[in-house]
Amino acid sequence: MEAGSVADRGPSRPGVWRLWALVPILLLVGVVALFASTGASVLDLVGQAPPPADRFDVRRVEFRPGEIRIRVTNPQREKLTIATVTVDDAVFPFRVDGPSTLDRLRSSTVIVPFQWVDGDPYRVGITSSRGIETTTDIAAAVESRGTSARGFFGYALIGLLVGVIPVALGLAWLPSLRRADPRWLAAFMALTAGLLSFLALDALAEALALQAALPSGLQGPGLILLGVAASYLLLTFVAGRFSAAGQRERGAPLEGVGLATLIAIGIGLHNLGEGLAIGSSIALGELALGTFLIVGFMVHNVTEGLGIATPIASGARISLVRLGGLALLAGAPAIFGAWIGGFLSSDLLGVLFFALAVGAALQVVVEVARYVARRAPGGLRSGHVVGGYLAGIAVMYATGLLVG
């Protein structure tokens, strides 16, 4: 493999570069194989590997009639064995649904026959074969329902109540907005940007909090960046397509139904994460789901409908069906989120969904800002726009207090 021959032959045949691109990869495979066969002795020169942490990652604790089910994952490189199970510092017999010795990132469910007391706090502990105990505290035992038609319907109803209905109600501002002064319309557009900014930060905080609990091997921060970048760029691409379809000049800001659709997608992705958070909290008994909380989410999310309605107000008439479609686009993901959260409760998906929401919301804020900059009387610096943006954040903060 001589460098000279590469230079000589490279440019002559198109496509051959792909073959040569394999060279570093093949070399890497060779070096890795060499290191793997002698590697341990190299590491001995500089130190000694610490013993494995032997901490289980407790994914989910469910209380079923007469038993507690604990879903655990092995987050470390070394194998991890489920040896003993305690409930409130007492050893109990158990069985394992799946392997007792877990390879990296593999999961099993530990089933402990146990007469638990409704509403009592519990601490469950899983001890590894090396004697390391991982404990998890449950604030209050609440029966987890398995997958059932009833539960399916229940979560759908919750998603409908906190997602679809508030957005639909917010869209009813449309007739009023159509009659509004352009300055006020600009103010409401800015308000939309404000509330989306709030949602973006809110989703980012949720994603960061959730990823902190993930095993480090799953690289939470990287996953967030991936989600944010993917949704931001995907929506940029979609916005470009909407512009092109509207036969407008390149780079013109979106408006009308196109912009409303984009906003609906951004809000929808946020509601997906929100639905997931609500669903898993209910399933794990962490959330006291009362009338007040549902009402809180409705008030909080009704402004999202306003955000979608505003760009439509300045454009052509829109059919009720399309309006309903927008409401579903923004609200229905809450239903899917609630199902996923209620039945799967995956922190990994939660992180991803919230990250997607961040990127989408940010992209829509940018799109709205471009629209306002071009269309609003006085541009971005008018009092209505500045006031509207701040009001958007303030409204989200104030209504957020209802669900905090």
């Binding site: 040896a83 510092d89 390391i132 105990e133 505290d137």
Partner: protein
């Protein structure tokens, strides 16, 4: 011992007494199929009394039925012969031991077990204990009792590979103990370097079925709190392999507490009372069914069983009980 715990919700406090009754439902629901596997004498009622979870095949005790015999049954007492030499050899060994089924603990042991072997002498014997340190840390043997200062196992540290012979007249009679006194002391005791040390009185005690019980705990995750408790070592061992005794003869237990980290441990017997002689060095006793011991405290228990069947014994700290410090007597005619 419990670690920091989430505070109970305020609202629950009001209803707690009512719901606390629910675990009793388990009594009624106890699986009768478990009871069937264990004899049909009077004691089998035990299985429907809420202990069902920790008897029979499900008990997570490691080892086989006679693994702890050498620690449970002490050497026979010898008659009073002042000046007779009693020799023992103890070796400190680092060893992984199984403290509950499936869980190993990197112990420091005397002769490979935690607790170490039972040392027994008659008052007036010249005790000679050859100690070899085959471990990786400096160790000693510190005996309780009366002996010269240089036999106390505090100043004569035995480095790994070294040895030392402890020699002193055995006195006073009673139930004593021995343990390593190297620093950090807490670590050396918690790791398993301790055992029972019996000195018999010049006038022999009445014949009895003699047992030794050393109470201890195992801090497997090194957080300064015990994860499991046991008698003579592994958790739940005598729940899985009940101790068989005859009703016709007194049962004498040489009892010592060497539990680290916890302030107290205790011994409680079901369905019977016993005489408890503190330290076993005198004639006064208490007639009771529960005794409380701090670390290093010990005594002699004498039981005359009135009934046959299975009788539970355990720490009357419920937490210790459910972490392994429990067992059964099987009393037969």
């Amino acid at each position: 011992m419990p670690k920091s715990r989430v505070t109970r919700r305020q609202l629950l406090v009001a209803v707690a007494p009512a719901v606390a009754a629910l675990p009793l439902a388990k009594v009624a629901l106890a699986d009768p199929s478990q009871a069937g596997s264990r004899g049909t004498h009077a004691g089998m009622d035990m299985h429907s009394m809420g202990h069902a979870a920790m008897s029979g095949d499900e008990v997570p005790a490691p080892g086989g039925p006679h693994d702890l015999d050498s620690l449970l049954y002490p050497p026979k007492p010898l008659p009073h012969e002042p000046g007779r030499v009693r020799e023992y050899a103890l070796t400190a060994i680092d060893r992984e031991i199984e403290v509950i089924r499936g869980v190993t603990f990197a112990a420091w042991t005397y002769n490979g077990t935690a607790p170490g072997p039972v040392i027994r002498a008659t008052e007036g014997d010249l005790l000679r204990v050859r100690f070899t340190n085959a471990g990786t840390h400096p160790h000693t043997i510190h005996f309780h009792g009366i002996h010269p200062s240089n036999m106390d196992g505090v100043f004569e540290i035995v480095e790994p590979g070294g040895s030392y012979t402890y020699e002193f007249p055995a006195r006073p009679y009673g139930m004593h103990l021995y343990h390593c006194h190297s620093t950090p002391l807490k670590k050396h005791v918690a790791k398993g370097l301790y055992g029972a040390f019996i000195i018999d009185p010049p006038t022999p005690r009445s014949p009895a079925q003699e047992l030794v019980m050393v109470l201890s705990g195992f801090d497997t995750d090194g957080d300064g709190a015990n994860n499991f408790y046991g008698v003579n070592g592994p958790a739940f061992y005598f729940a899985k392999y009940p101790i068989r005794v005859r009703r016709s003869q007194t049962v004498r237990i040489y009892l010592a507490n060497l539990t680290e980290f916890d302030v107290l441990n205790s011994f409680h017997l079901h369905g019977e009372f016993f005489r408890y002689y503190p330290t076993g060095s005198g004639d006064h006793f208490e007639y009771t069914d529960t005794v409380m011991l701090c670390q290093g405290q010990r005594g002699i228990i004498e039981i005359d069983f009135h009934n046959t069947g299975q009788f539970m014994f355990h720490a009357h700290q419920s937490e210790f009980t459910e972490l392994g410090w429990m067992g059964f007597f099987e009393v037969v005619d």
